[in-house]
């Protein structure tokens, strides 16, 4: 049996208000290490809500999220931040890079915040990451000097910076053209192939079909699970190894 990277038990997220609303309504999920999981569902079904919970950006009303064997419901806000910093890399639909900083500095940010490496090592790793994502030339550019696809790849490099076990991405290709979409998705695939766990929300059924597993969410519940995915290609495995080793 392979290792479980991410697990949820009876996950419920409710917002109380004048009208109470249940965003996530009892989700049990286990994601293996190195698995590529795609989440699909109609708009408003709770995909983003689930992802925020998995990435510890939001806290569940009920249930438990176990990340790399560690239950998270009892963690303090600071401990949750530390988990986000070192164990989960988040990629949003909108790139969300810091506008005044270069691509390189944006990738350095989580490493500097964690402060676990020497400045030299951080710098080397950031350059290696950017290079492996085809951004070696763009390191010194600011977000507004980059294309949408390039920005999303910088965001991906930033998510990978602290070698997180889990990468969660909310429609990372939602704003991209076909070529960029293909590229970013390919990279996510490679990351999973290299042993990191990837959870991606997407509207694109064709892309979802290339994941190892696909769950379809409706009204905050898993309606359908499909197994499948493309066999690993040689070149993808090679890029994956390059990213993993950098």
């Amino acid at each position: 049996m392979s290792e479980i990277a991410l697990q949820t038990v009876g996950l419920v997220r409710r917002v109380e208000g004048i009208i109470s609303h249940t965003l996530i309504n009892g989700i049990d999920l286990s994601v293996e290490k190195g698995e590529f999981l795609a989440i699909t569902g109609p708009s408003g079904s709770g995909k983003s809500s689930l992802l925020y919970l998995l990435g510890l950006l939001d806290a569940p009303t009920e249930g438990e999220i176990i990340i790399c064997g560690q239950p998270t419901s009892k963690l303090s806000e600071i401990e949750r931040a530390d988990v986000r910093l070192t164990k989960c890399g988040f990629v949003f639909q909108f790139h969300f890079l810091l506008p005044e900083f270069t691509a390189l500095e944006n990738v350095l940010l989580p490493m500097r915040a964690a402060g676990l490496m020497s400045a030299r090592d951080m710098h080397q790793r950031a350059i290696a990451l950017l290079t492996s994502l085809g951004l070696g030339e763009q390191a010194a550019k600011r977000p507004n000097q980059l294309s949408g696809g390039q920005r999303q790849r910088v965001a991906l490099a930033r998510a990978l910076a602290n070698r997180p076990e889990i990468i969660v991405a909310d429609e990372p290709t939602g704003n991209l053209d076909t070529a960029s979409t293909e590229q970013v998705f390919g990279i996510l695939r490679d990351i999973a192939d290299s042993g990191q766990t990837v959870v991606v929300v997407t509207h694109d059924a064709a892309l979802a079909a290339r994941a190892d597993r696909r769950i379809h969410i409706v009204d905050g519940k898993i309606q359908e699970t499909t197994f499948g995915g493309k066999p690993k290609s040689e070149s993808a495995a090679a890029t994956g190894a390059a990213i993993a080793s950098s």
Binding site: S48, Y52, G55, L57, D58, E77, I78, A81, D82, V83, R84, L85, T86, C88, F90, F92, Q93, F94, F96, L97, L98, P99, E100, F101, L109, P110, R112, A113, A114, G115, R158, D170
Partner: protein
């Protein structure tokens, strides 16, 4: 969390917002500059005045009085007999054995002591009459206990013994009575004694009160006016360090039994006015620094609002809330620090500019350059208070902005 990172983020925010940063710095600089100017002016005038006071007055005055009235026979015998119309027991005037007292004081006093006879008199010159305090002195000993010798603008202390009944008067009094050096005036004392005296010198202490109301003569003349020959009714002490006067006065009083008054006690009313003034001015200065840091409050509010996306990103990446908050506090302190440097320069320039101005000082009755007191304390204190205000001013908007849950912002943006 790496302070380096926070500093570099803060620096980026500040350096990409030149206009806002300049406004913030300008505010702080004004606050600090004007505070330093006020402190310099206020303390300058105060210290200048105190210096004159301390230079002119004896630091401790020993009078032939007791603090408490002697117990009267009526009180002593009250329980036994009731008496009426009993005359008060008046101790004999004058300090007993002044030479011995002075000798024993000199043995430990960090300063010097001289005898004098103090009385009141009316100076009459051509019909103009002014009541004054007359102090009989010994010119040779006087130089040890007062700066009178250096305050002479006409004549010398020694001239007192050269003329019969010589007196030295203040410049203000001389002007008031139109008396010139060498003129003869009439001195009238309480007992009805009238003596004609010659003005042999004119002094100017700078204190109007003294220059108008204090005259000096030899001991003998003063004794004649009091009608008590050969008494000394006052010892005047000058200390090397005027600030210990209060302590010395207490010691002298304990030793001699005579009422000993320090210059601080003698001027208690004045010093308490100073304390009130200090309090008011300090409050105003504090308010000024606080107000000036409000520009920072505004700017940090604006920056945190503009940067709410960045805040959400940093928090979602796993930076701790207080670390993100600190970025904005650092920004405020960066603006504050540079503002303080400019404020120091401004404060110094303002002080310098004021010191070029001469004004009429009603306390001394003279037109003199404004005295400015330059003290590193003014710079350190205004800087410290200002940087603290900046930190506090930034804290609240920063806390408000970094408290927001990143999901709220991220949902709002996509």
């Amino acid at each position: 969390m790496a302070t380096n990172l926070l500093l570099s983020i803060a620096w980026t925010h500040v350096s990409t917002r030149v206009r806002q940063t300049l406004v913030g710095m300008f505010g702080v600089a004004m606050g600090v500059g004007f505070t330093i100017m006020m402190a310099g002016l206020m303390q300058g005038s105060q210290i200048d005045f105190l210096r004159q006071l301390v230079d002119t007055m004896p630091h401790v005055t020993v009078d032939d009085e007791r603090r408490s009235v002697p117990i009267q026979p009526a009180d002593q015998e009250y329980a036994a007999v009731a008496m009426s119309n009993v005359a008060n027991v008046n101790r004999r005037p004058g300090i007993r054995y002044p030479e011995a007292v002075m000798a024993s004081l000199r043995s430990w006093l960090p300063g010097n002591v001289a005898p004098s006879v103090k009385t009141t008199a009316i100076v009459d010159h051509g019909g103009g009459k002014v009541g004054v305090t007359l102090t009989g002195i010994d010119p040779r000993l006087e130089v040890r206990v007062s700066k009178l010798a250096t305050q002479m603008i006409e004549g010398q202390l020694g001239d007192l013994s050269k003329a019969a009944n010589g007196i030295i008067i203040g410049q203000a009094l001389a002007e008031k009575l139109a008396v010139k050096n060498g003129n003869t005036v009439l001195l009238a004392a309480g007992e009805g004694t009238q003596i004609s005296a010659t003005v042999v010198g004119i002094f100017r202490s700078g204190l109007k009160r003294v220059d108008e109301g204090q005259i000096y003569s030899l001991l003998g003349l003063a004794q004649t006016l009091t009608g008590e020959n050969a008494i000394i009714n006052q010892l005047r002490i000058r200390l090397n360090d005027p600030l210990i006067a209060q302590k010395v006065a207490t010691q002298v009083e304990a030793q001699t039994g005579y009422k000993s008054v320090s210059w601080q006690e003698a001027n208690a009313d004045l010093l308490s006015t100073f304390a009130t003034r200090d309090f008011i001015v300090l409050t105003v200065m504090g308010a000024m620094l606080l107000t000036s840091s409000f520009a920072t409050y505004n700017i940090i509010s604006t920056i945190t609002h503009e940067k709410r996306h960045d805040i959400a990103i940093m928090k979602s990446l796993g930076m701790r809330e207080y670390a993100v908050r600190r970025i904005f506090i650092i920004e405020s302190m960066m603006m504050g620090s540079v503002g303080i440097l400019f404020g120091w320069a401004l404060g110094y320039l303002l002080c310098y500019a004021w010191s070029q101005i001469t004004i009429f000082n009603p306390l001394t009755g003279a037109t003199v350059p404004l005295q400015i007191y330059y003290s590193p304390m003014h710079y350190i204190a205004s800087g410290a208070i200002s940087i603290l205000c900046c930190a506090v001013a930034a804290f609240f908007p920063a806390r408000k902005a970094t408290r927001v849950h990143p999901v709220e912002i991220i949902r709002g943006a996509s």
